[in-house]
Symmetry: C2
Subunit: 268 residues, 2 copies
């Protein structure tokens, strides 16, 4: 960590505010815009040291909240059941972006891990159901980002499985099929999709992206962050920087600046 | 970042759930419990690489949301005006912890930085007002943590000031007075207080805790995290781990497990 100048972000925010005077100013916590990260363990761990959820939160401070909804081990069959509890209609109106990041568990082999396995065809249908639900509460496809499952380092993951008294329960080639299915559903719905399985393997040293063959190392988290951040920043670029900069506060009568802000919210 | 086994946290959560069957299960996003970080730039930057806000989010995944409400350059005079907009009565019922971390700007020298300066006596009164407001919306003092301002490395901060065309506008000894005042208000209200100004300077190499004399380096962020995390974890220890573990989901009839969860919420 180093002291990063915040000027660039601030200037950009000022321009945004100036250009979009009518933008909705959100002051109460419940009304801060939200980027929801919905996925499995790779999402649940996205606030670990140097990881991609924390990076988004850092880049989007004073603009919106990054809400982590990662559920270790979950597949799309289960995610479909809980999504309406995760994003209800009331919350949906504050959601600027949703990332959908499932597949690593769906792709578990039926004969080795029947608990998590979801057949390929059902995986596709479940992803479509997630999209249909989000649409039904007003979250349009331009606010959705699919993240397809990453490749699997079978050798390292087998070691992790054996440590847990299990056997190798996933294959890289099978995860590849799920990755392609995910991108297909995204294409059909004109949804942005980050194809990690393909993108990561273009790096000849791709196995360094994982700490146990399946979950990200810091390099892997940064790889995703490099792909994801530009998309999220673009989709949130209309959001204002919340509350005045400190040197814009009227020090002699701070209520005039800060209550104006409050008033702007109440009018809307 | 390395692959951390999640077992310890999970076992703890399981015990918590077993011991507190009547605990409120929260499923909808709006009802997830919240830890609110309210402060100035040191809070605003708390999700930078390796910083203390991200660390809390990582440790409390699946239990509650860490909501960052840091406002660079703000002092207690301004924070008092905006707090009711940051935590309204409705949100307050979901708040498990609030950290209050102001003073670095209040302690700016009147003659060098009249914009940010707040007199010592008013600083104390403002902190008391923040507590009184939180109490008025039902947030009791055991849920509040004060973080007193850290020491200032005048030499490095002077360099930063000169780079911005300014002059040295804070003094370490003056910040020390604000730190003592903060701890005094905390004591009077029986509120936990982390006395960074004193604690950090017990380390003979304390200047490494800052990247520009005022804002934290990674070492400084970790120093705070080491003090703060145990307090926050204790104050959130009653919160359940949200949603069943993946191997507890009934794979043949997942609705039975996941809808039960939903039902448990709706009953309350």
């Amino acid at each position: 960590m180093h002291c990063r100048p915040m000027y660039k972000a601030l200037i950009r925010s000022f321009i945004t505010l100036t250009c979009f005077q009518s933008v909705r100013l959100m002051a109460a916590t419940n009304a801060w815009s939200k980027v929801v990260l919905f996925g499995d363990s790779i999402t649940q761990r996205s606030f670990d040291d140097g990881s991609w959820g924390a990076s988004l939160a850092s880049q989007l401070q004073r603009k919106c909240d990054i809400v982590c909804r990662g559920f270790s081990g979950y597949n799309t069959r289960w995610s479909k059941i809980i999504l309406p509890q995760i994003i209800d209609k009331q919350m949906a109106s504050d959601v600027s972006v949703v990332t959908i990041f499932f597949g690593a568990n769906d792709a578990a082999l039926l004969e080795k891990d029947p608990q998590q396995h979801v057949p390929l065809e059902e995986y596709e249908q479940n992803l479509q159901s997630l999209v249909d639900y989000l649409n039904s509460v007003g979250i349009t496809n331009d606010k959705i980002i699919f993240i397809a499952p990453p490749p699997l380092d079978e050798l390292e993951w087998e070691k992790a499985c054996i440590l847990k008294g299990s056997v190798l329960n996933r294959k890289n080639s099978v995860t590849g099929e799920y990755s392609r299915a995910c991108c297909k559903v995204a294409d059909r719905n004109k949804i942005d999709c980050i194809g990690l399985w393909t993108d990561m393997q273009q790096d000849k040293d791709w196995k360094r992206f994982f700490c146990d063959g399946l979950h990200f190392s810091e390099d892997g988290a940064r790889f995703l962050d490099d792909k994801l951040s530009p998309l999220v920043l673009e989709k949130t670029s209309h959001l204002p920087f919340l509350y005045p900069l400190w040197d814009e506060v009227d020090a002699k009568n701070p209520e005039s600046t800060l209550d104006n802000y409050k008033a702007a919210k109440e009018e809307l």
